[in-house]
């Protein structure tokens, strides 16, 4: 997994011309980038199979994060395979800027990035908020997204092959493509339903949060160390820094193969809170806006403000907050008392 990542990291710097196959570089240049793009599929495949094989001899619980994960695997693979098709310059010359390309990159981005994001969001939501997302509504949203995505984008592959160009506002009726476009529109509508359900689900979960508290900090019976802290984690994360001397120490502890963490409470050094980061973000937004619309006065003002914030942030000696071990002990014991009450 690690080597696959390293290989992808390296290769990812030398594939970019596959976006410009049709822009007039020589066949040799195109061939180089075609080969690099095809090569990057190999370690990617390693990672995909690696993820799949983590299920080996496991008992798969189809909670909503798992649903999102499998949808990710399917859609990312399909998008990836059409990417291999596209990485051949002769093919790319035919389907560049067609709906085939649209279907491909939406598969990567929605199927890959977005579904992966929803998977992670759903999985870690209880950890960072302390309450659960509505599982039922999440499932409804998932099925809408998944079926809607397939319905909306698979026909685009066909349309692209048949010659439909991207970024057109209409297609002649004489092409005979209308039925497929109706399917696509229907799929888009189903995705919209999914989005609406997600937003409603988030809102409802927040309103119902008192009834859905994550009291154990470990709702999924997790293997990794973040599940050993309460939900949401205290501001110092771990009260005692865990000793990691093997893979998955938490899992080993749960299975009785390792003793639980023994360390005693210690002082914790935390960096001091500072609002400068947020201020700099806001001023950067203003600066960007001003730069786009040529508003010199606002650009200068916000630019200077960013620099001033940076200087303020990097001035002064008082950089850490020390939380004594007694304070940590008191905080932890109060939390345990509240939990068992």
């Amino acid at each position: 997994m690690v080597w696959a990542l390293i290989v992808i990291t390296f290769l990812s710097f030398i594939v970019w011309l596959h976006h410009f196959f049709t822009m007039g570089a020589s066949p040799n240049v195109n061939a180089f980038f075609a080969i690099m793009t095809m090569l990057i599929a190999i370690p990617t495949g390693v990672k995909l199979f690696n993820w799949l094989f983590t299920k080996f001899r496991g008992r798969v619980h189809f909670m909503s994060p798992m649903l999102w994960f499998f949808a990710f695997m399917l859609n990312f693979s399909i998008g990836g395979m059409t990417g291999i098709l596209l990485s051949a310059p002769p093919v790319d010359y035919q389907v560049h800027n067609s709906l085939f390309l649209i279907a491909h990159f939406h598969g990567m981005v929605i199927g890959g990035v977005l579904f992966g994001f929803f998977c992670g969001f759903t999985y870690w939501f209880p950890k960072f908020t302390g309450f659960f997302l509505s599982e039922k509504l999440n499932r409804y949203a998932f099925w809408c997204w998944f079926s809607g995505f397939l319905l909306a984008f698979m026909p685009l592959y066909m349309l692209g092959f048949m010659g439909a160009t991207r970024r057109l506002d209409h297609y002649e009726a004489s092409t005979g493509w209308h039925p497929l476009f109706v399917l696509v529109a229907f799929g888009a509508f189903i995705i919209l339903c999914g989005v609406v359900i997600q937003m409603y689900g988030l809102l409802k979960s927040i309103l119902d949060r008192k009834d859905n508290l994550d009291l154990t900090g470990d709702p999924w019976n997790g293997r990794t160390l973040e599940w050993s802290v309460p939900s949401p984690p205290p501001f110092y994360n771990f009260a005692k820094t865990p000793i990691v001397d093997q893979l998955d120490p938490l899992w080993a502890t749960k299975r009785g193969q390792a003793p639980p963490q023994q360390a005693d409470y210690e002082d914790i050094h935390m960096p001091k809170n500072s609002p400068m980061g947020i201020y700099m973000g806001i001023f950067s937004l203003l600066f960007g806006f001003a730069a786009v619309w040529y508003m010199l006065w606002l650009a200068l003002l916000s630019g200077v403000a960013i620099v001033v914030c940076a200087i303020i942030r990097t001035t002064g000696e008082d950089e850490h907050d020390l939380i004594s071990k007694e304070e940590i002990r008191a905080l932890e014991e109060a939390r345990l008392r509240k939990g068992t009450a």
Binding site: D267, H269, L322
Partner: protein, 76 residues
């Protein structure tokens, strides 16, 4: 045991730079720069040999500057 911050004294002791180091790097850089400019200005060499020579001089100066001028060493 509490978090140990090192004191100013210790930080200053870790500093590896020295006057002789800086002067050495300075002289070396001046010499190498002068040679580079000299070769190009007088066209003492030409063609590929000129390019390779000048490039090697630049690389040498870069390495020497790294050695003599960059004093906080990693791992300190």
């Amino acid at each position: 045991m509490s978090h140990e911050e090192i004191s100013l004294r210790e930080m200053q002791k870790e500093w590896h730079g020295s006057l002789s180091g800086y002067l050495c790097g300075f002289i070396a850089s001046i010499v190498l720069t002068a040679i580079s400019f000299g070769i190009v200005a007088t066209r003492a060499l030409s063609g590929p040999s000129l390019k390779y020579t000048v490039a090697s001089l630049a690389l040498t100066q870069a390495i020497l500057q790294l050695i003599f001028f960059s004093t906080p060493r990693l791992g300190s």
